[in-house]
Amino acid sequence: MAKYTFVDKETCIACGACGATAPDIYDYDDEGLAEVIFDGDGNKGVTEIPEDLFDDLQDAQDGCPTDSIKVADTPFN
């Protein structure tokens, strides 16, 4: 099953937890807010996350204090 992800920047508090957990998927913009950078996704949620990163993806979603990390089986846009 494919997985896609993006960060809701409206609720992100820039805690840095997702980037610490899954640095290949999440990085930060100039304001410190998280965004999906995997394979140039640009936080659109349209890039398929490879299976070998599923554990990191799950940990990042579980560890997000504001539930800002969205994950779905289909692209978000």
Binding site: A17, A20, G32, D59, Q61, D62, P65
Partner: protein, 165 residues
């Protein structure tokens, strides 16, 4: 902008002892570290008998004492604001915040007992880490022991990549 990490827990959960160890480790790693503490019950007292205390007790609106190795500042404020004080510390690398469990900065939860673990339910946003001696199911967030200041410091370093609060 300094990255802020809060250490939230009930009284006698070990926050101060832990922050001392973590700040020492972060300093060893080359970071400039500030600490901001919540004195929710107003327990803080100026040093008894000191000249600066006499000025505070006489009602000065502010007292600044300049010593060879630092500056001590007292300011009278009716409603001290965390964000305002954090802005004054923005030039440091890291700010470790003791208490202020109702504010929105990233936090780790600190507890020693099952009863104290109720702090997990009180934190909103949820904690991004847990520090306890108990064998605890984390629900997906990292769990550290209080005698692991190196691992905790590493976690703070990783998270601080965001450089914001």
């Amino acid at each position: 902008m300094a990255y802020c990490m809060g250490f939230a827990g009930f009284s006698d959960s070990g926050k101060t002892t832990l922050i001392v160890k973590v700040l020492e480790e972060l300093r060893r790693r080359g970071h400039r570290v500030a600490v901001l503490k919540h004195d929710g019950h107003g327990h803080y007292k100026e040093a008894k008998g000191a000249d600066s205390t006499a000025f505070v007790e006489a009602g000065a609106d502010a007292v600044v004492t300049i010593s060879p190795d630092g500056v001590h500042v007292y300011e009278k404020k009716e409603a001290p604001d965390l964000q305002e004080q954090l802005a004054n510390l923005a030039h440091y690398d890291l700010v470790l915040i003791e208490g202020f469990k109702k504010d929105k900065h990233p936090k780790v939860a600190v507890f020693r007992t099952i009863e104290q673990s109720r702090i997990l339910e009180e934190l909103d946003p949820a904690p991004i880490g847990i520090i306890t001696d108990l064998a605890f199911e984390s629900g997906g967030i990292p769990v550290f022991r209080p005698d692991e200041p190196q691992a905790i410091s590493e976690f703070v370093e990783f998270c601080s990549k965001a450089r914001q609060y």
